[in-house]
Symmetry: C2
Subunit: 356 residues, 2 copies
């Protein structure tokens, strides 16, 4: 079997703890499915700022570039929040997306049975919710020119939102393809009644839609989408949108499932390369205590197997193992009703690895 | 008593129907409270496009400019959705905001007792929710330079987001003042970890916060705010944010109350001038049937009385009359459990006018 190279950037807070369990599960799948991985670790985020003076050291970038996939824990924490821009973990995150050409972020928002009641939405509204947000990740206002200048009314700040038709087309095509493998419904979200970039976005969607005749497309204005996610979450299948809107809507969508601590994500570029990470953050408040929930990271591995490597069988097995362990009533503190009975991070990782 | 001039722009869809009831209520308050209004009507939105070839005719603008306050119904509808930019109702809306200097949009999101169950949120989460979004309305990406150009990767679209410190300061100060009259909590929402305009915004909030020592300030990133509105809506008091984020978050906040059809809004400039309108749209599907709910528009009059004219007593009376009529079980179709028993628009208006 071919050896696959995995760049591991555990990052800050609970990152190293949850990533360790994901690797444990990967190693178990090596034995069971005859897979072979080579792991190379890199510093990233706050820990890289502390040790190397930059959130994204060149060495880490190279580890990622020679890998087939990247497994990321989480970055950031209060310690670095007041740093100057160059010395902030987020800057590393934007840098790695751009440098690795990860133009697409897939964020499935699903409801876990055991967390049904954790949502603030009524169960009957949530029923059947299973959507995925496809967010453009390397363009728009995140990466356009930014500067300050003196104007007639004092200091001015400027951000520029730019999209070219090629960028829009590649992300929209990807979203159509994702929709084709799901319930074949695509909601394209923009603000075409105000923004020029949104008008280009909408034109592009309309131009290429005929190439995907089996997919039903609707255009939804971003403000309306923020409402409809609350009103009829289960009616969405795939949502595709630009970087800034995607940041907001994917978090709203994740939160309304009540399952945010269990959700995984994939950031993809051209070809099969991808970066996989849990949606939850670095949770500095519980870092180092061995109580974090590793499931979102373990499920990110399942995404990696499916999307980067085509290891469908092993991906299915991981998802089944997680379900089985949860169905048997095993819980980490964040999802436990009785905290006293809660498992540690490594206990949960062991259970899932053994259930494979 | 001094005569106050009201510009009435009923607009499209159900606009004329709900505005008529609001005027009915205003006339009743003239008798009861010794107020005196002079109404001048102007064409606006789709109807102005049809009759005058522009969504915001010069004449309408002048009616607004010589008025003390503007009462707006709603604009837009499918008929004009595919028009070119200059011939779209939204363009008129952006134009009127800019021309009248309405830099601040206040959108209270409250829960009406009779609509508690209409929310998709669990009642225990919604309990006590009473917040107001203060949205900057004449700056940011809405009004910055927009254009197309040819680039290395094909056609490009550009939107520019600009804020100067004066614009930020005036809206933030207003939000602090709103907070001082409420529960004294201000959440300032930005994306300071990515945007330069957000960094200017945050610096400005921090600089002027000491002038309002009684107000507790928190900075919330926009993606996090979209989540926290779902998780802990009742913990928010006043939310202040820039134009684009405010568009999204105010709609999310309104929807989560379940009361969106009953919510009113105010757009204010320097001085006491203001434009008042219901949050709901033109509802073309039920236009002309006499079944629309006029309550949001009637409550917009209460906001006008309080914020523009200082008619606190009459404002209280309107709000009390609405409550009394609802408590007695009267409902229009949108809020009725039994549609067969639903009142017409004019019946609801009459009841409220008589209850004053
Ligand atoms: C940390 C921040 C820059 C980042 C973003 O806005 O993209 C985060 O919110 C995310 O969604 O991954
Ligand atoms: C119609 C549109 C231009 C407008 C806006 O985005 O401001 C609307 O959504 C609103 O919130 O009043």
């Amino acid at each position: 079997t071919e050896v696959k190279k995995i760049a591991v950037i555990a990052g800050d807070g609970i990152g190293p703890e949850v990533v360790a369990e994901a690797i444990k599960v990967m190693k178990r799948t090596e034995e069971l499915f005859g897979l072979k991985f080579e792991f190379e670790h890199g510093l990233f985020g706050g820990v890289a700022i502390d040790e190397k003076g930059t959130p994204l050291p060149q060495e880490t970038l190279e580890i990622c570039k020679r890998a087939d996939a990247v497994l990321l824990g989480a970055v950031g924490g209060p310690k670095w929040d007041n740093n100057s821009k160059e010395l902030r973990p987020e800057t590393g995150l934007l840098g790695i997306r751009k440098e690795l050409g990860l133009f697409s972020n897939l964020r499935p928002a699903v409801v876990f049975d055991c967390l049904k009641d954790a949502s603030t939405l009524k169960p009957e509204v949530l029923e059947g919710t299973d959507l995925i947000v496809v967010r453009e990740l390397t363009g728009g206002i995140y990466f356009g020119e930014k500067f300050r200048r003196e104007g007639a009314y004092g200091e001015e700040a400027v951000d520029t939102c730019v999209y070219n038709v090629t960028e829009v087309e590649r992300i929209v095509r990807q979203a159509f393809e994702v929709a084709q493998k799901r319930r074949k419904k695509l909601a394209s979200v923009d603000k075409a009644n105000v923004l020029e970039t949104s008008r280009l976005w909408r034109e592009t969607v309309n131009r290429i839609a005929p190439d995907y005749p089996d997919v039903e497309v609707e255009h939804v204005l971003v403000d309306n989408c923020a409402m409809q996610l609350l009103r009829r979450p289960s009616s969405f299948d795939v949502i595709v949108t630009e970087n800034m809107f995607g940041d907001i809507l994917s978090d709203e969508a994740a939160m309304l499932t009540g399952s945010i601590g269990m959700l995984s994500s994939a950031s993809l570029g051209e070809g099969s390369f991808g970066l996989y990470e849990p949606v939850h953050g670095s949770a500095p408040d519980i870092a180092g205590q061995g109580v974090a929930n590793p499931i979102a990271t373990i499920l990110s591995v399942a995404l990696m197997y499916r999307l980067t490597f085509g290891y469908g069988e092993a991906a299915d097995a991981i998802e089944r193992a997680v379900k089985q362990v949860l169905d048997a009533g095993n819980r980490t503190g964040d999802i436990a009703t009785d905290r006293a009975q809660a498992l540690s991070t490594t206990e949960m990782g062991d259970l899932i690895a053994n259930a494979l």
